[in-house]
Amino acid sequence: MELTSTLLTGTGSWNPLAWILGLVVAAVIAWLIYSLGEKGYKAGTAQAEPFISGNPEPEKGLVHVRAGNLYWGYLEALKGYYNRLVPLHTGDLHDYILWYLGVTALFLVLVVISA
């Protein structure tokens, strides 16, 4: 196996083949431990029902956590930022072009000042 095909970033490096070698070794050890464990369980009995603190399982649609909630904590924490940012997304192309021109002009001014 040739391990010289290292990706050089200029400041560091990464060799995927070496990573795979390490991965295989770790996987074999993990699999050996895993295979020592008990495989079976009583399928179709109460033990295979989802744990909902002892309550009967409601209809799937009622307990399904929707993808829209995925980043709830993130959006809640940064709502001060999103409350200002979301209204700016009007859907009107003229607004977006104005923003684009405004930000470009600002950067031009900054570049001129720094030069």
């Binding site: 990573w19 770790a26 809640e76």
Partner: protein, 339 residues
């Protein structure tokens, strides 16, 4: 690289894997013992995590009716395997990183995310509302702490690069050139701030209180692990131990890379075990201050508080540390202060 070189590398990987498993469980045992003593309890013996794993391997491996079985079984194994692999890129005592020349700190940062992603996959595959909410929280927590973690990594590597060292992101370079020896007083404060940021990232990376919102026993009944049992749970438990050792190794490599053999004169045959023991002592100290002390003294944050803490407060502290390091490099270059 020759076939013999690959075989030697493979042998070191096996030895390090075994060390990671045993060392990780040992650290979990020490953490539990220390936490117990701080709460005026005797606590379990330090070998308790080993007993727990042995017991879990004897238990039934239940697959919930709503689960996606292949992903449900695969996630714990991936979590363990990916945790072990990270250690191959890190120095352990005076053992240089086995794959050190084949990867850098940026790679380590990415690889640290894989066990958490495996847990997320396992949570979503469980088919349980508790596990799904837990998996969502794990994703949000990851997004929160990756940014300050990146600031630390870039800050330290940038300062090493500014000191004229080649390949500053390489773990060998970072471990051989402790940041404290390269900076002046301003940079010292900057490095302290970055150390603080990394210490606060640690409990989140390890899903420990106050950043264990994804498991939250009192609220989510275990969250993304709620449906796991038997050998699958044992794999996650082992991964938790290995991650603990790995993250301690990351902090040690970046901020405390000194070895006992470099500080005291000793024969070569003694240096290797002495340095390994010293590494474990440093790991326990890191674990104590970054995890045990914090989890005993604090309550759990809400998930939105976690995001605010990392994205606002910790990021600002991290940037301040980075700016101080940059100012320090400028002062050293101008000859105002000596490094």
């Amino acid at each position: 690289m020759t076939l013999l070189g690959i075989a030697t590398m493979g042998m070191w990987c096996i030895l390090l894997s075994l060390f990671a498993l045993a060392g990780g469980l040992f650290l979990l045992g020490v953490d539990r013992k220390l936490a117990a003593h701080m709460q005026a309890r005797i606590g379990p013996p330090i070998r308790q995590p080993f007993i727990d794993v042995a017991k879990l391997l004897q238990k039934e491996n239940i697959v919930p009716a709503n689960a996606i079985p292949c992903l449900f079984h695969l996630a714990p194994v991936i979590a363990l395997v990916s945790s072990i692999v990270v250690l191959f890129y890190l120095p352990v005592g005076s053992i240089l990183p086995v794959l050190g020349v084949y990867g850098d700190l940026v790679l380590v940062m990415y690889l640290l995310a894989v066990p958490a992603l495996a847990m997320v996959a396992g949570g979503f595959a469980s088919g349980s509302p508790y596990a799904t909410v837990g998996a969502q929280r794990e994703m949000v927590t990851m997004i929160a702490y990756e940014f300050p973690l990146a600031i630390v990594v870039i800050g330290v590597a940038w300062r090493l690069g500014a000191a004229g060292l080649p390949l500053p992101f390489t773990l060998g370079t970072i471990a051989a050139n402790p940041i404290w020896t390269l900076v002046g007083p301003v940079g010292f404060i900057g490095a302290l701030l970055l150390l603080l940021v990394l210490a606060v990232v640690t409990p989140a990376e390890l899903s420990r209180i106050p950043f264990d919102t994804q498991e939250a026993e009192t609220e989510l009944a275990g969250g993304l692990l709620v449906e796991y049992s038997g050998r699958n749970l044992a794999m996650f438990y082992l991964a938790q131990g290995v991650k603990t050792l790995v993250f301690a190794a990351v902090i040690i490599a970046i901020f405390f890379p000194w070895n006992l053999s470099g500080l005291l004169a000793m024969p070569p045959w003694l240096a290797w075990p002495a340095d390994l023991l010293f590494f474990l002592v440093k790991s326990i100290l890191v674990l104590f201050f970054a995890v045990t002390l914090v989890r005993v003294g604090m309550a759990r944050f809400r998930i939105n508080q976690v995001v605010s803490l990392y994205w606002v407060y910790l990021s600002v502290i991290g940037f301040l540390g980075l700016i101080l390091l940059m100012a320090d490099a400028s002062l050293v270059t101008l000859g105002v202060v000596g490094a």
